[in-house]
């Protein structure tokens, strides 16, 4: 059972990684508009070079 002393901090590190990833995506504006990107996905890529 004393393995808990290692596993629990490890689990917390995994959580920390997930939280950092989430904060990064939220700050980057990935949740600003949830309606348009799923539609944008349908577009062909041909002219993507022109997009900044």
């Amino acid at each position: 059972m004393s393995v808990l002393f290692i596993v629990v901090p490890l689990a917390l590190i995994v959580v920390l990684v997930a939280v950092v990833a989430y904060v990064w995506s939220a700050r980057g504006g990935q949740f600003d508009d949830l309606d348009t990107p799923p539609v944008r996905m349908l577009h062909d890529d041909e002219s993507s070079a022109k997009r900044p």
Partner: protein, 810 residues
């Protein structure tokens, strides 16, 4: 494309230019059968053909354009008619083809296109024209500056919620281990591990996402008001302090799980509420976007130039072409035309106007170009005054929020008082336990469940209602609709279908092709009504057709001389119309007689047909105790006739009401209903109803309404007809029952908690369990409470059998 914007039976309509191109390709290749296999959802593509020169004006730039760095400018344009995936494609790709446009991005939910461009390389008007040509008429959006701030706020809020949620989940896991340890026995070292882990997780949760409650409470303290944040902050602070002390001393309960869940749930509830309020703020901005922005001014030397409408001055002369909106109030200096003033009056029939007649900004010039001398423009025009009224009415609705805050103020005061009493009761006996009990009371009575009860239930109900075709913007609408009160309905477009249609036809079927032959070439609304009524009929080619202005049309069809028109015109060519005309007596219809070779053979009743479900829906609402009033901008006689068929009392039918009168009417009803706290509900579809809709306790926009009206309405219906009103009222009642049940639960928990804490009997187990358990009950209660029937509404019957009725193409 949202059904709210489809106008039925106007032939093929498209949500966007992309769909239209596809349609053309399918048509030209004989593949049009495709459209028989899919549900038809259509709306017109309108290209306004304007030059948008005012977009380059410096006055425009000051208002709407922001620098975006690297020599670029940024603006946001509200686009009409954005609805689907191909819209996104067109709006984001086509402007990029212009040299100098760096970025075009569309937010499909808000129909806002964000454009970044190099003002030196390409004028904004060029971009605007490109968008307009695609069928997305652009309007400047005033919220550009605020939008960036709002986006930052949203991101910060989402980050807080995410962090709080992750921490709450992990603290709950630790708490689970600790609780099972309480029952089955747990070694001290493991218990200490989990307690310290909880402490380590809770501290950042309180310091980062939870900080908003402390700043809120501090602000409330400084302004000496009682705010919901105050007990929350007290409970959080007390819980964490006590928990930390107990962790260090390794004795007694730690309240960390409750604290973390509390932070997470409260933040979520607050975020949901905030989004609802934003929608309302956007609505006001939208109104200004829809007002006309450009004018064509005639200079002294006779040359024309475009100016922003706000830059017009009294005395200037402007030219307004057919199909354009008047940019300012004034009077006609030269020319003769017909004006559609539906925006201001709700009367959809064009009124003829000539030299000297007044015109108003926002109304539509239908038939011919005219010159107008400006009298009032910009902020002083009648339209601007009306929009301001709308905005003011929308803002005045704040008292509901104020009331909620007062309620929570009382709650705070009672809780604090109880905590002090507990402390004083126990202090003489044992100082340490007095502190313990007072803190336990604060934690147990934390208004978590109470604060969540309403937003959660309302959010769930709004989601369900949306699936049933009813869009509700705020919770107060549901709250107000519970009590039956005054229901004020607009006529044109709300109770009726809002367009000229063939309502009755008396005569032989063999006459129909002859009538259609003449009407096929006419652009008159009545001709339109005939064409829509008999879509499948093949008409022979007429010859010698002559139009009699304002009276009718005549010509020779397959060897017969046919006259279709007003009784006066037909009487000049034929006789025997009286018995047929008698059929229409007393109905709000315009009679059109048909004469073939000198004999009147048929009569058509042209009018605005009453919606098929109006009668039954109104009856159902009246049974629930609603007092119904018909408030129409139309002619009093027409209003009275429609009112009579739908069972309105004679004194509850008001005709020829201007937008200002409609607003006054609603205010008067509101004043009368204040004592009984009954709601005044306004149902309408036009811009002329917008002010009244905004002022009413609940404003409802119906299917097919104007954008400005839908924007100010608290509720709008996306399925045709007014039967959804009945479902709305029923759903609101059920939602409020769920809310009351939630609050009841929360109060019960608190009452029990207070009793236990005051009597000093609160065990660590109960205190720790009661906080999350009460929230959980509320969450589950909201989720499973039956509010709105989630099944989509059956489409209203649009086809009515019988020779006298007309089939409407959907």
């Amino acid at each position: 494309m949202p059904p709210a914007l489809v106008s039925e039976g106007d032939g093929p309509q498209f949500c966007c230019a992309g769909c239209r191109t596809v349609y053309d390709i399918l048509q030209s290749n004989g593949l049009s059968q495709y459209y028989d296999f899919r549900e038809r959802r259509e709306a017109a593509v309108r290209s306004s053909g304007r030059t948008f020169e005012e977009f380059d004006h410096s006055a425009f730039g000051e208002l709407y354009v922001q620098p975006a760095g690297a020599g670029l400018s940024r603006t946001e344009l509200y686009l009409e008619g954005v609805h689907c995936a191909s819209c996104v494609w067109l709006v984001e790709r086509v402007p990029l083809l212009l040299p100098g446009v760096a970025r075009a991005e569309l937010d499909i939910r808000r129909s806002l296109a964000r454009i970044e461009w190099d003002a030196a390389a390409v004028p904004l008007s060029h971009v605007a024209r490109t968008l307009d040509r695609l069928g997305y008429s652009p309007h400047p959006f005033r919220g550009v500056a605020r939008d960036a701030m709002r986006r930052r706020e949203d991101r910060a809020m989402l980050t807080r919620i995410g962090v709080a949620g992750a921490i709450a989940g992990n603290v709950m896991l630790a708490a689970l281990a600790l609780y099972s340890g309480e029952f089955s026995g747990m070694e001290g070292s493991y218990a200490r591990l989990f307690r310290w882990m909880s402490l380590g997780l809770t501290l950042p949760a309180v310091l980062y996402p939870g900080r908003v409650f402390f700043t809120g409470a501090w602000a409330a303290l400084r302004t000496r008001t009682l705010h919901m944040d105050l007990p929350i902050a007290l409970a959080l602070g007390a819980g964490v302090t006590r928990g930390a002390i107990n962790t260090i001393t390794n004795s007694g309960p730690i309240y960390f799980d409750g604290v973390c869940i509390l932070i997470f749930l409260l933040l979520t509830g607050r975020f949901l509420q905030q989004r609802g309020q934003r929608a309302a703020a956007d609505a006001a901005e939208l109104l200004y976007s829809l007002a006309p922005t450009t004018a064509r001014v005639i200079d002294a030397d006779g040359s024309e130039r475009e100016l922003p409408a706000v830059a017009l001055l009294p005395g200037m002369e402007v030219v307004v072409r057919a199909g354009e909106s008047f940019p300012a109030d004034g009077h006609i200096a030269a020319g003769e035309t017909a004006i559609n003033a539906a925006l201001l009056t709700g009367e959809s029939r064009p009124v003829s106007a000539s030299r000297g007649d007044p015109v108003f900004a926002g109304t539509l010039n239908v038939t011919a170009p005219v010159r107008v001398v400006v009298e009032e423009s910009g902020e002083t025009s009648r339209l601007a005054r009306m929009l301001r009224q709308v905005e003011e009415s929308a803002q005045r609705r704040a008292p509901v929020v104020a009331f909620a805050n007062r309620m929570s103020g009382w709650f705070v005061a009672v809780v604090l008082l109880l905590a002090v009493i507990t402390f004083l009761l126990w202090y003489p006996r044992n100082e340490a336990s007095a502190w313990d009990h007072a803190i336990a009371l604060l934690i147990v009575t934390c208004p978590c469940a109470l604060a969540l009860a309403t937003p959660l239930a309302v959010t769930v109900a709004i989601g369900r209602a949306a699936r049933a075709g009813i869009f509700i913007k705020g919770g107060d609408a549901l709250e107000s609709l519970v009590r039956a009160g005054d229901l004020v309905l607009d006529k044109t477009g709300t109770l009726t279908e809002g367009r000229t249609a063939l309502v009755t036809w008396r005569g032989d079927d063999s006459v129909k092709p002859l009538v259609l032959a003449l009407e096929a070439g006419s652009s008159h609304p009545i001709a339109d009504g005939f064409r829509r009524a008999w879509p499948g009929l093949v008409a022979p080619d007429p010859s010698g057709v002559s139009h009699h202005v304002g009276a009718g049309i005549s010509g020779t069809v397959t060897g017969h001389f046919v006259v279709v028109g007003s009784p006066r015109l037909v009487a000049q060519h034929a006789h025997g119309g009286e018995p047929l005309l008698a059929h229409l007596a007393g109905q709000p219809l315009t009679p059109v007689l048909v004469a073939v070779d000198g004999a009147v053979v048929a009569v058509a009743g042209i009018g605005d047909r009453v919606r098929t479900d109006a009668g039954s829906a109104l009856a159902a609402l009246r049974r629930r105790g609603w007092r119904t009033t018909l408030l129409s901008g139309d002619d009093p006689q027409v209003a009275a006739a429609v009112g009579q068929t739908l069972g309105f009392a004679a004194d509850a039918t008001v005709g020829s009401a201007t937008p200002e009168q409609k607003l006054a009417f609603v205010h008067e009803r509101l004043g009368r209903a204040r004592a009984t706290r009954q709601p005044v509900v306004m149902v309408g579809d036009g811009v002329n109803d917008a002010a009244a809709i905004a002022a009413a306790s609940v404003g409802i926009g119906v299917h097919g309404g104007a954008e400005a009206c839908l924007a100010t309405a608290d509720v709008y219906l996306t399925t045709p007809g007014i039967e959804p009103l009945v479902r709305l009222v029923e759903g609101a009642a059920r939602t409020m029952r769920v809310i009351h049940r939630n609050i009841g639960f929360a109060l019960c928990y608190n009452a029990v908690g207070v009793a236990l804490a005051m009597s000093g009997r609160i065990s660590p187990m109960i205190a720790a369990l009661m906080m999350p358990a009460s929230s959980l009950t509320v969450v589950l209660g909201s989720w499973f409470g039956r509010t709105f029937d989630p099944t989509p509404a059956p489409r209203a019957a649009e086809t009515v059998p019988g020779d006298s009725r007309v089939e409407v193409a959907a």
